[in-house]
């Protein structure tokens, strides 16, 4: 037990006053020689024992009054046997959940839950003893490699940091934040160590894999010496009222990518909790600039609307829609979508057996699939611009710099063409697509189409023609597993549109021993390769075992042909697959090819700075110094690494503007993580199980934690109990006195 005002405890010595009075007057009696003792004895005898007890009790009460008063003023605190003094510095890792879900408003208050988290953290830090070491770990940055994942300092520095803390970043990953906390805590040398975690404890934060990880973390905590205490403070407390909450649940373009001048239709779907009829407005923002506001009318809790955008400049763009932040939860009021506008990509279609008749040439189907609108004579809105080229003319037209070259059933190539193709693929980063056919001469290909190293350029050797058995429809494509990104959406589990394709004939592809870069991205059900992709130098080669037209396969006549070709060729040409919009906490990665189209629109449309095409179509723009402007208004330099512009500080949702010192601009949007939009509290048993697994103590509020921590650090303050006892003694004393007199009489 310790005393906060120990000097006042000396006042307890005042108990000696009643004791001394008692002892002194005990033998100080006036003596009376008495004759009628028999009457006195009979009266006194009856209650003598009880009288002695009462007198003793009275003495104790009178002695206890000054003791209780002194102790009460001295603020005694009961401490544990092993507890350390209260002013011992503490090494505390303060883990804060700063995820978007905390943006939910607290009913009846102007602040939201995030502000409550910050206030709680401030209260905890303020109460820390002087000299304490505080390490702040936020959910937004925990687990990242850079040093911004945590902040270490004294309580005052931490308070300053807390003042500037903002909501955002990635969702709370308990395993990551706790691992970070343990790692940081193990670096401290203070004997007394604590981990205090304040989170909203939503159901989406607790997965089964997390529970397994938490057990491991609990074991790691147990091995630390001295073992830290883990306090888990619930910032959720009360479920947020979600009535009349409006949210954007979908924003999708009708095209995967666009070209300059193309009208892109966007579909928006919004929902309203409840069935109230509400009319509001939807702000449409493109590349950070508001361009339009459309009315939105919720009927039956849903609203759908569309709008069009036209991008005149190739590059990375962002379209964002936002509802007015009038409900209690703003993160789901807006959504962003990245969109890439490419300059038209020139594709040479080299036909092995050209024909004037419709759909008789090897590349007719490809031409339709790659540029369907251009053939109709409309404005050029196709991503690909196809050019029919004869094999012998290729060398002569090489200055037009195609992005892709398709050789469909070309028997062989001339040495001049072969040399150009080698340079096109290896050095210029071009894409060569080779379709098999009856005229394809594998031996000649291997002799003439060589890399600079002398080895055959094709990833696999053309083999014999395999025919389907008579009476059967043909070979079937194995669409069970399609992991190549542009093909993933065609897998049986996804759409299953390739399962009905028949391959009547194909050339058997044989893997070369030296070809390590080749990758079979599509097979027949008999296991033979159908589609092989290989990186060669800066470029790529795709080898197809069957024809490009319907001579050997029914694929060109299938609905899946157009999107399949579009996605395959776009992926090969741009390196992009499905354009994704990262969530907060995920890095923005702009690839070299993408940046090239943004910074230097080589093939046509004019870029923002109006630069023209250079001779090599090189991504000259990305060589400059780039910086990013975040939605919070912060400008940060972004280095170029591995031909990529990568920015990890995606803390807030919104539009990020990348710009170079040469005037090039690119945009990327960041959405609130979808998991953060589910405001459902975790079940109590799951929460308690998680708490037990890491050996933590759960607190419903920071006040509860502070009381417990105060008890643990200082012990339990008992002055209130002493005050009650003092009052009781003051009340009981006259009662006992009267009771004693009554007993005597």
């Amino acid at each position: 037990m310790i005393f906060l005002n120990w000097l006042l405890a000396l006042g307890a010595l005042a108990f000696t006053v009643p004791l001394a009075i008692h002892l002194l007057f005990r033998h100080r009696f006036e003596i009376v020689d008495w004759g009628a003792m028999r009457f006195l004895e009979s009266v006194v005898r009856l209650n003598r024992k009880r009288l002695k007890l009462l007198n003793l009790l009275l003495l104790l009460i009178r002695c206890s009054i000054p003791i209780l008063l002194a102790f009460c003023l001295a603020r005694p605190v009961i401490t544990g046997w092993k507890s350390l003094p209260g002013d011992e510095p503490v090494a505390m890792v303060l883990v804060l959940d700063t995820s978007h879900s905390l943006a939910s408003a607290i009913e009846g208050q102007s602040s939201n839950r995030f502000q409550r988290v910050v206030n709680s953290a401030e209260a905890i830090v303020t109460a820390l003893p002087r000299g304490s070491d505080v390490i702040l770990v936020t959910s937004a940055k925990a687990g990242q490699d850079d040093e911004t994942g945590s902040m270490r300092g004294d309580p005052q520095e931490t308070l300053a940091t807390l003042q500037s803390l903002k909501i955002g970043g990635r969702p709370l990953v308990l395993e990551a934040v706790l691992s970070e906390a343990i790692r940081k805590l193990s670096e401290t040398t203070t004997e007394r160590r604590q981990i205090v975690m304040i989170s909203d404890q939503r159901a989406s934060d607790f997965s089964q894999s997390l529970m397994d990880d938490l057990r491991t973390i609990g074991e790691r905590v147990a091995t630390l010496t001295p073992r830290p205490t883990i306090a888990w403070v619930d910032a959720w407390k009360d479920l947020p009222a979600m009535e009349n909450n409006r949210r954007i649940i979908r924003l999708e373009p009708t095209a995967a990518a666009g070209v300059p001048g193309q009208k892109v239709l966007w579909n928006v779907e919004a929902r309203l909790d409840g069935d109230a009829a509400i009319t509001t407005s939807l702000a449409i923002v493109v590349d950070g600039e508001s361009i339009e506001s459309k009315p939105v009318e919720f009927r039956g809790g849903a609203a759908n609307l569309s709008f069009e955008t036209v991008f005149e400049r190739p590059g990375h763009h962002v379209v964002q829609v936002a509802l007015p932040a009038e409900d209690g939860f703003s993160p789901d009021d807006s959504q962003s979508r990245n969109f890439i506008v490419y300059p038209p990509l020139e594709v040479w279609l080299v036909d092995g057996t050209p024909s004037d008749k419709p759909l008789q040439s090897d590349t007719d189907y490809l031409a339709i699939a790659l540029s369907p609108f251009s053939l109709a004579g409309e404005r050029a809105v196709d991503l690909f611009r196809t050019v029919q080229v004869l094999e012998r003319e290729m060398d002569a037209k090489k200055d037009s710099h195609p992005k892709l070259v398709v050789l469909a059933d070309v028997g062989t190539v001339s040495p001049t063409t072969a040399k150009w193709l080698t340079d096109f693929v290896e050095n210029q980063g071009g894409v060569l697509v080779c379709f098999a056919g009856p005229a394809t001469d594998g031996e000649l290909w291997d002799k003439q189409l060589l890399m600079t190293s002398g080895t055959p350029m094709l990833p696999m050797a053309w083999g014999s023609i395999e025919n389907a058995s008579e009476g059967t429809a043909g070979f079937k494509i194995d669409d069970k597993v399609l992991t190549y990104p542009p093909l993933a959406s065609f897998a049986m589990e996804a759409k299953g549109t390739l399962g009905s394709v028949d391959v009547f004939k194909y050339r058997k592809l044989t893997k070369r021993v030296s070809s390590d870069e080749s990758k079979v991205v599509m097979r027949l059900q008999n296991g033979d390769p159908l589609l092989v992709v290989s990186s060669v130098g800066k470029g790529q080669i795709m080898q197809v075992a069957t024809t490009a037209n319907d001579r050997w396969t029914s694929l060109p006549r299938r609905l899946a042909f157009v999107p399949l070709v579009q996605r395959l060729f776009m992926h090969l040409a741009t390196g992009e697959n499905q354009i994704v919009t990262p969530e907060a906490g995920e890095p923005i990665v702009l690839g070299l090819e993408s940046l090239a189209t943004s910074a230097n629109p080589a093939a046509g449309p004019v870029g923002e700075k109006g630069s023209t095409t250079d001779s090599k179509n090189a991504p000259a723009g990305i060589t400059g110094k780039w910086q990013v402007s975040t939605p919070e208004g912060v400008v940060v330099s972004v280095p170029i690494e591995s031909n990529q512009l990568k920015f990890t500080g995606t803390y807030a949702s919104g539009t990020y503007r990348f710009s170079s010192d040469q005037g090039d601009v690119a945009y990327s949007g960041i959405n609130v993580p979808e998991a953060e939009l589910k405001l459902t509290a975790v079940e109590a048993n799951v929460r308690d199980d998680a708490t037990n697994r890491i050996g933590a103590i759960r607190y419903a509020s920071v006040t509860e934690y502070q009381n417990d921590d105060s008890t643990r650090r200082f012990g339990r303050g008992i002055w209130r109990y002493l005050l009650i006892a003092l009052l009781a003694a003051l009340i009981i004393e006259p009662f006992v006195q009267q009771r004693g007199a009554r007993l005597v009489s």
């Binding site: 007057f25 100080r28 009696f29 006036e30 003596i31 009376v32 020689d33 008495w34 004759g35 009628a36 003792m37 028999r38 009457f39 006195l40 004895e41 009979s42 009266v43 006194v44 004693g740 007199a741 005597v744 009489s745």
Partner: protein
Amino acid sequence: MQIGEVLTPAERDRISGLQLTARQVVEGFCSGLHSSPNKGYSVEFKEHRQYVQGDEIRSIDWKVYGKTDRLYVREFEEETNLRATLAVDCSGSMNYVGSRGGMSKFQYAIRLAASLAYLMIGQQDGVGLATFDTKVTEFLPPRSRASHLQAIFAALQRRPPGGETELGEVLGGLAVKLRRRGLVVLISDCFGDVPRLMHALSHFRHARHEVLVIQVLDPDEVDFPFTGRLRFRDLERVGVFEEVDAASLRDAYRAKFAAFQKELADGCGRARIDLLTMQTDKPFDAGLAAYLASRRRLR
């Protein structure tokens, strides 16, 4: 020891005018104020009875013979002197001197005894004395000589009070010594077991003694006026004391004392014993005079 050391002249004057008479017949050696069980020659005719052989001829009432033709003899009541024994309690409790000053109960008892002795010797009655505590310490048989008064005074002064007492036991022993019926005056505070006291006094009553109990009390013993923390030291038993908050005991003490007094009065009433309670703050002669006057009226 002279009478002046016990009674002041004024007290003697007041006492000398008093007269103590027995309420019942007593046996004495000489004629006096009190009825005797013996019949003899006296002026006080008592009754006629039939003549029997052996009666003196001169006692025959011839007038009655003349009227009735039967022989009757006349009998006369004999008057005799009183044989009184004063039993004075000399126990420690009698030594109490009240908080209001004045004399102790024992001094008061001495004066009472001296007054009674003086009074009875003066009317030719015999007076004896017995002082006692746990046993009879002094015993003077009744004498009617004037010189006997000096012996009584000396005996009263000889022994200071002290020690315990048990009235029942002591008075039982005294009753054996008093063979002839007379008056027994017990002067005591009577602090003891009342049933045993009454049992002892019944011995006197069976022996045809008239018993008068004069209870001497200090007013403190009646109203218990003490306050504060007091140590009451027993006057009879050495080393026995009670430390009490006096004020808190007062009511209980008074109740207890009143119950004792009632028990004593009831016991005396049942045994046809006169109980005279006197407090030491009152003049003993006045109280004695009032009692004797009432006694004469009741005779």
